[in-house]
């Protein structure tokens, strides 16, 4: 992996009047990668995608796809194709005509064209739906038509703008797997925009987390979850308990923190970057609910079991700790021994020091 990627986004900014939608973003994406842009709505991820598609021009910066600058390439000549959030299927055309729409410019023979359309429909398992109109299809089928229509052009990059966010949960989960398999089989680079962290983690090779127009962290889903770059990322990806902490000056070069509810602690090296404003974080599933105080090698906080929420496979316990403003969340496996503790009982939230994260708090 060099600096030069298959897609190189160099210091791209986009301003609309006084608002900065995309702020100095640089990214490199490799060929065949499933890359996600993850962030809240309004964080600039869709704008960045639209800049890649050529619908918006960047105010500053440059984009290269396969070594070619896109600065002077209009949308209809770019080696990118897009799957829109609204699907944007042409309502006046049949499924076949929709899928074959982009082939007209390729000057193919009719037979070849029909073959490509049939092949694309087969790829998304809609062989029997060619003559239907978009309004006769379900949401998931529309999604597949939109995919087929974009992929038939054999783009270098497929851009996906929250394509499955409008589907219901079951279908969404099925589509996630389908998309991932499709991407593997066609080998095309996917650039996927979503606000749904679960979606991003499930499908992506790498994820860029965006806040306020800036990319805050680019990592694999696992690294993103285990080693978030700062408090915002940690809070955005999955659940997290935060404990206020103050760095404590000490002579031996070790950085210690005076942590709310825990006293002075020395976090394991590796996870800690010295920062004037830091916060200690622990994932709910790294904590255990216990009626007994922690063992010597463990840490723990005493409190009262405020509530337990049953989620089927897991149970989320909220533990009210006197020193903390927010109750701690402890995630346990349903049916385990601690699951039977009655609400209101005094309990300990116990965890290993190794599971503490020290995060920059901006």
């Amino acid at each position: 992996m060099g600096i030069e990627g298959y897609i190189t986004i160099q210091k791209v900014s986009k301003r609309f009047g006084a608002t900065v939608a995309v702020n100095d973003v640089s990214l490199t994406i490799q060929q065949g990668e499933f890359f996600s842009l993850l962030g809240h709505s309004g964080c600039g991820k869709t704008t960045l995608l639209r800049i890649l598609a050529g619908f918006e021009l960047p105010t500053e910066g440059e984009i290269l796809i396969d070594g070619v600058s896109m600065a002077r390439v209009p949308a209809f000549r770019r080696p990118t194709n897009m799957v829109f959030q609204s699907h944007a299927l042409f309502p006046h055309l049949t499924v076949q005509q929709n899928v074959g729409y982009g082939l007209r410019k390729e000057k193919l023979k009719r037979v070849e064209r029909n073959r490509r359309v049939a092949q694309a429909l087969k790829m998304v398992k809609l062989e029997d739906y060619g003559l239907r109109r978009p309004h006769q299809l379900s949401g998931g089928q529309c999604q597949r038509v939109a995919l087929a229509r974009a992929l038939i052009k054999r783009p270098k990059v497929l851009l996906l703008d929250e394509p499955i966010s409008a589907l219901d949960k079951k279908l969404r989960e099925a589509m996630q797997i389908e998309l991932r398999e499709l991407q593997r089989s066609v080998g095309i680079t996917f650039l996927y925009v979503t606000h749904d962290q679960e979606e991003a983690l499930t499908m992506s090779d790498r994820v860029a987390v965006m806040f306020d127009g800036q990319v805050v962290q680019v990592d694999s889903p696992r690294r993103l979850y285990d080693c978030p770059a700062n408090r915002r990322v940690a809070g955005f990806i999955g659940q997290m308990n935060f404990l206020a902490a103050q760095p404590v000056a000490s002579g031996d070069g070790q950085i210690r923190y005076n942590c709310q509810g825990l006293g002075t602690i020395t976090p394991a090296s590796g996870n800690s970057t010295p920062a004037a404003r830091a916060v200690i974080a622990v994932r709910p599933e790294k904590m255990m609910l216990s009626t007994r105080p922690p063992a010597d090698h463990q840490l723990g906080m005493a409190g009262r079991l405020q509530a337990s929420a049953f989620l089927g496979d897991r149970v989320h316990h909220l533990v009210a700790v006197p020193d903390l403003a927010e109750p701690l969340m402890v995630s346990g496996i349903a049916g385990s021994a601690e699951d039977t503790i009655a609400e209101g009982s005094p309990v300990w939230a116990v965890f290993n020091p190794a599971d503490l994260l020290v995060l920059k708090d901006e």
Binding site: G54, M82, K153
Partner: protein, 259 residues
């Protein structure tokens, strides 16, 4: 609540009585429009169709209405595309300016157009009438076209660009088919406005008459009245047929574009 059906019936009679009277008296065997009816006759229709003046003025109206409707709709389609698809300085102001002639009284518009066209040294003819009708029709056409453009997803056009189609190609392959029902309604609306127009035509007319002006000129002769009634009935029935066909087309269009 029991009075409601009665109220409806009275209202309907009020609305349709004049038209019914028109139809009835066009077949009445008397030159006086008065009860009791004298008997059934086709005389007035026969007279009407043997009168070449009617056909000439009908032809004039048809030509004026077709050209006005086509021109106004074309202008409105382009303007609607501009104001719904692009952001530019003075966008809101230009929409208001374009829509304004709709609320200017025709008598004012007629007078000012007459002054302007005379100043330009144009002699009054069907051409000046057509110009006037285009001015009157364009705001209506624009209203129809803006709502049509606003009603479809902008990303459809982006999708077309994205799939390799140029601006012009996108216009013909996506935009035009999608706004087509709007274009048809706009053409019909403009056609009817122009065909029906009296005030503007009255100011701008030369020696060739449009149908409404011809009818008006015939009203001076009492003997001609039944013939005018027959003409009115013909126009009424044919507009009914046109409207029914147009409504069928519109519903069909709306059906395929659902969702």
């Amino acid at each position: 609540m029991r009075l409601l059906p009665i109220y409806t019936i009275i209202g309907t009679i009020f609305l349709y009585a004049p038209i019914v009277l028109l139809l009835v008296f066009s077949f009445n065997d008397s030159i006086y429009v008065a009860f009791p009816l004298k008997g059934f006759t086709w005389t007035w229709y026969r007279q009407l169709f043997s009168n070449p003046d009617i056909f000439v003025s009908f032809g004039n109206s048809l030509r004026v209405a077709l050209v006005s409707a086509l021109t106004a709709t074309t202008l409105a389609t382009l303007a609607a595309k501009a104001v719904t698809r692009y952001q530019f300085a003075g966008r809101a102001a230009s929409v208001s300016l374009l829509m304004l002639p709709m609320v200017i009284p025709e008598i004012v518009l007629g007078t000012s157009l007459l002054m302007l066209l005379m100043n330009w040294g144009l002699s009054l003819s069907l051409v000046t009438v057509t110009i006037g009708h285009i001015v009157v029709c364009t705001p209506f056409a624009l209203g129809v076209m803006i709502s049509r453009f606003a009603g479809f997803d902008k990303s459809l056009e982006e999708a077309s660009f994205d799939l390799g189609e140029s601006g012009l190609g996108t216009f013909f392959r996506v935009t035009l088919p999608l706004v087509w029902p709007g274009i048809v309604s706009s053409l019909m609306l403009c056609f009817l406005i122009s065909f029906d127009d009296f005030v503007i035509s009255f100011f701008l007319i030369g020696t060739e008459k449009t149908l409404p002006l011809h009818i008006w000129s015939q009203m001076r002769f009492a003997k001609k009245l039944p013939e005018v009634l027959a003409l009115g009935s013909c126009i009424f029935v044919s507009s009914l047929i046109v409207l029914t066909i147009a409504e069928r087309l519109r519903r069909k269009g709306a059906l395929t574009q659902e969702k």
